[in-house]
Symmetry: D2
Subunit: 362 residues, 4 copies
């Protein structure tokens, strides 16, 4: 109810502040007898961790994860899996400047107003650092999905006004290789270079820039999603909108679909060569009536620019007086290269949850 | 868990099929001592009901609501409020054509696959008829919000490629009057005429067209929204994405925000003449860190075109064989004029829920 | 959250007041393709309905149930099943005497204090009339359990100080026949006569008396119950304690178990002739570590005497002044004969819920 | 859903196995600005920890708690509070004897059957060690209740057939002092000596014995508890029944109430000298219609004897063959002296949760 849990059956609860002792997550509801590949979980975390390249924040965190419970002799036991990531870079003095002053477009003002208290160091609980816990949990969800042959894969499709060509994922491994071949995590090599150049320019100016992540879910079985409120895309949308800095979500035909006609948009059903029901087009984005139809699921996530910029800005302080906030803090010129891992993690968690939900009721 | 409930503290559960005996809703968690204006609830339903104008479906339903419980001598008692809307137009024979055949881009195939059974008459549970129950519940939420001085107001901002000029709501009553002065429910009179013309053209062709609804929430207090997963905009997004035919949601700067720089996007804090903290711009859309900051909230909802068109289409049947679906059923050329009421209802429910959630924890 | 829902996956939400238009229930999460035997549901309601015999309340209610949704051509579809029971005996004037006065050991005072308003007619929402909705939902759960071969059966084991001999249920049908052969619903014929005599004496004195119901669950599969908080017996206990007038619950060895030694209480594991693991004794009451072990589950439920008695009593009124409450209202001298149906319904709902919960996680 | 969470608004999720790295708990929903007294939390844990006296288990655990998040400069911030208790005594080899063999009346068989895997070391997740996490969370709840002037206090009222005289708690501090003056934690000194003698005898025989804990909640405000399923005593009952080894719960008049008449059982309302509404008797146990009425709440919890005894017992192994289980493991002759802390913790959690729930809806 206090908002720190996500999922119904494959349920996670995260905890921890940016500059506290540690952050972490409890996964409650992971099926038993899943082989836990700790190295894989760490690799997923490494894609999100700070300091990966010149175009991301330079905070020093190894983001080393420990499993405290729920795994026995390498396998899940059906009991809660607690994972802990100690905070290493705790130079909280760096944040004294925003102790009594509200940083523009950060959560300082709203947290202070809501709770009457806040851990101001690096944004405390509102820091995107919390998403590392999600990535750890999402990695576990991915291990579960792998058993079912389901793939979740995303990449950076836009930075500012630079858009990658519309991607199709025919071979997941190949797509990931292409994406990982550049530091911006765009599967199109040429676009990637433009993006990197733009981010680097923005970085040098002490500024930040927004972008978009596009995600694909392949081999999702028919039947995931619960009508009428817990439609699969509604849960995916909420998952994405819960990620820091996200301002928009659409799936399938998306916002463009609102300009189309029914005769154009309707996805005609066909049988493929194996007798499986498929659709000729996929404007539905793999979901009809809120339930997966077996086609690929695709969606897009829009991230606003990071609020921390390296220039001084006007603001007000806790006393309500005009003040100036210093251009300090960890500079992360563009969040989307690291956000790819978070988008995938949240998508994997939604699919894992709905896989379990679909075990019931029929 | 089965997906028919929405909200945590102001919680609704809907039931009913398109051509069953009745549809309805239980509202569990409405505070006590709210004056219940049945006429107001009926008026809200009238904005969603079919047969309002030439540009909507011609199904005959008065959508008359009855309250079965939870209200005593005109006031809520804190116990569950059950509301019932009998179905009047039950000519289910009209739907024999889709008994064994899957209509393209409808939920026939996914429901049948998920449950192994479905009420095929008019789409059964997957019909947008279910949203009448939401509007009834949303009307109750609005009565609660009125007590707090909070307004939720929406209009049709696009039909196909026709976009209304960006609206600002300075006077809610006036905005609603403008919107209700035309059958497409767009607050800009000139655009409205273009939209109506387009829909009418599409209608005559037996086709359908998509559109967008823009919604504003005014006078929302600071502090609504729960970090980290139940961010206010994440719950608004889920609410909107749970409405039939919705394919996209964004708020504040939205998708456009992903093209911006931080120096441009950051909303500078100021004091207004009364000493209240406001922001100079509002790219945050009234929400920062997932929590309302007291500025107006605004968001957009993209609807795909209705799948029922009046021309025959290829498809497959329940046996998996190629088949043809007849161009029959209720023709609703454009859903957005009626969807305005649904968007407002769901937004009101989210705000009511978070108002109650914000009563706790501090 | 407002307390009118029960269950996680097989979830019910009840609504309605004693003297309102109707009471009812939504069952959300009943699996699809269950054959719905409306006659059976009505029979279950008939066991709970008032006016069955001289020893129960004489309120006139046929308790006729209607199904509004979720059933198509006689089968469940996986969508919410709404059931409605109109109130027929609405002589609410009979309750003017407790409009401003708090009846001792009723919920008048606490509801008024909590909500600042209450429907005083017959106790409003706090009336045991609400349990009819539970029995309807429980009947549906029983239809689901029947498919799995699971039986839930209860009887009256005590009235006042009269205790039936400890029962064993070897043949469920026979046990039910014996129980239904007398109006107090005790499976032991001789004890039943004593009980009836006692209740009749109490009734003539305008008084009421408490009693106990013992319930058995047979053929429950191994594995139901979720550690650590949602132990099967914890959920059964909550279900029973949520029934009006219940003041105690124990299972297996129960309160007596607290006087025993481990060497005596431990249930030794054995193989039966079919190689199935059983236990020699069953002090565990069929549940170990909160999870069913395949042995019969048994528990007991203690009901306090009904608070409505036919003599005047001292009390206070809404103004906080000393007052007298008239010995009026529906006289129900002993609630346990009708409570058998409620206990069975709630037990069936818990088992149905945990059957579904056990579909997941392994 | 997987059962490791408790509470709706003041919500806890526990994790950890008996012989894993650590156990712990996340408290999500603790109000902000509560002063956190770590020493107090540790003292509560010390009342539950093993090795306190000769009559409890001799496992060596300091049960030292660390707070990882949610507390800033000594106060809660409204964000999740994670607490960690490392396991120190991890001699898991001591448990090799029950790796493939099911200990009678333990959860070995049911866990293995449910999950197809189990951490057999010391019972893994089913160990009562998990309750330390509850006590830590309960201590936090107590700090919150202290702000409201609410006291939760329990003592051992029975061991085997030895019953303490019915206690009344006039002075909480004095009651606690009396209770803590003896190792069995019974507030009646003479009975305590008898109990200690009995437990010591049982201990020397390598056997175990059951007992009862009685708990009182004082100064609970009117209005806690949600009709109809989440009655205050139903949630208390579930909380208690979720504690390892508990087989029974009753409150107020309890099981004895089922033998009484209404004329005797009804609690007459009166005004006290301050004009506050009270009742002459308190058979209702401070709860009417599921809602607290301002009188003291009292309830009793029955614990079966601990299953681990120091003699060999017949059983079956994982292969389903007859086997013998060795009389090994940690010998805890009577669990109730330590269970006092657990009962108080769970009661405090229920009251904290309902305090928050009662902030809403009126």
């Amino acid at each position: 109810m206090a908002g720190n849990s996500f999922g119904q059956l494959f349920k996670i609860t995260t905890f921890g502040e940016s500059h506290g002792v540690a952050i972490g997550v409890i996964v409650d509801g992971c099926p038993s007898n899943i082989q836990v590949d700790l190295e894989f979980i760490q690799q997923e975390l490494d894609k999100r961790k700070p300091g990966q390249s010149k175009i991301t924040t330079q905070r020093k965190e190894s983001d080393t994860v420990q499993i405290l419970s729920g795994v026995f002799e390498g396998k899940t036991t059906g009991t809660p899996i607690a994972m802990l990531i100690p905070n290493e870079d705790q130079k909280s003095k760096d944040y004294d400047h925003n102790k009594d002053t509200f940083r523009p477009s950060h959560a300082d003002f709203t947290y202070q107003s809501k709770y009457g208290i806040r851990d101001h160091r690096g944004g405390g609980r509102s820091s995107a650092r919390e998403t590392a816990a999600r990535v750890a949990a999402g990695a576990l969800a991915k291990l579960f999905l792998q058993q079912k042959g389901i793939d979740v894969v995303a990449h950076v499709s836009s930075v500012g006004f630079i858009d990658a060509p519309k991607a199709e994922v025919l071979d997941v491994a190949k797509f990931v290789t292409q994406r990982e071949s550049n530091i911006v995590r765009c599967a199109d090599a040429a676009t990637a270079q433009e993006m990197i150049h733009l981010i680097d320019t923005v970085r040098k100016e002490g500024d930040t820039i927004g972008g978009k992540v596009t995600c694909f879910i392949k081999n999702c079985p028919v039947g995931l999603g619960e009508p009428v409120f817990d439609k699969l895309h509604a849960d995916l949308g909420k998952a994405m909108l819960s990620i820091n800095a996200v301002h928009g979500f659409d799936y399938g035909s998306g916002f463009d679909g609102s300009t189309m006609r029914g005769s154009q948009h309707n996805d005609i059903f066909l049988n493929d060569e194996n007798g499986k029901v498929i659709t000729r087009t996929n404007y539905s984005g793999g979901i009809q009536g809120g339930i997966s139809n077996g086609m690929d699921i695709d969606f897009r996530v829009a991230f606003k620019p990071v609020a921390t910029i390296m220039t001084n800005q006007e603001t007000v302080n806790a006393a309500g007086e005009a003040a100036e906030i210093k251009g300090k803090g960890r500079h992360d010129p563009c969040v989307v290269p690291r956000a790819v891992a978070i988008v995938e993690a949240m998508a994997a968690l939604v699919i894992a949850d709905h896989l379990l939900r679909n075990e019931v009721y029929h």
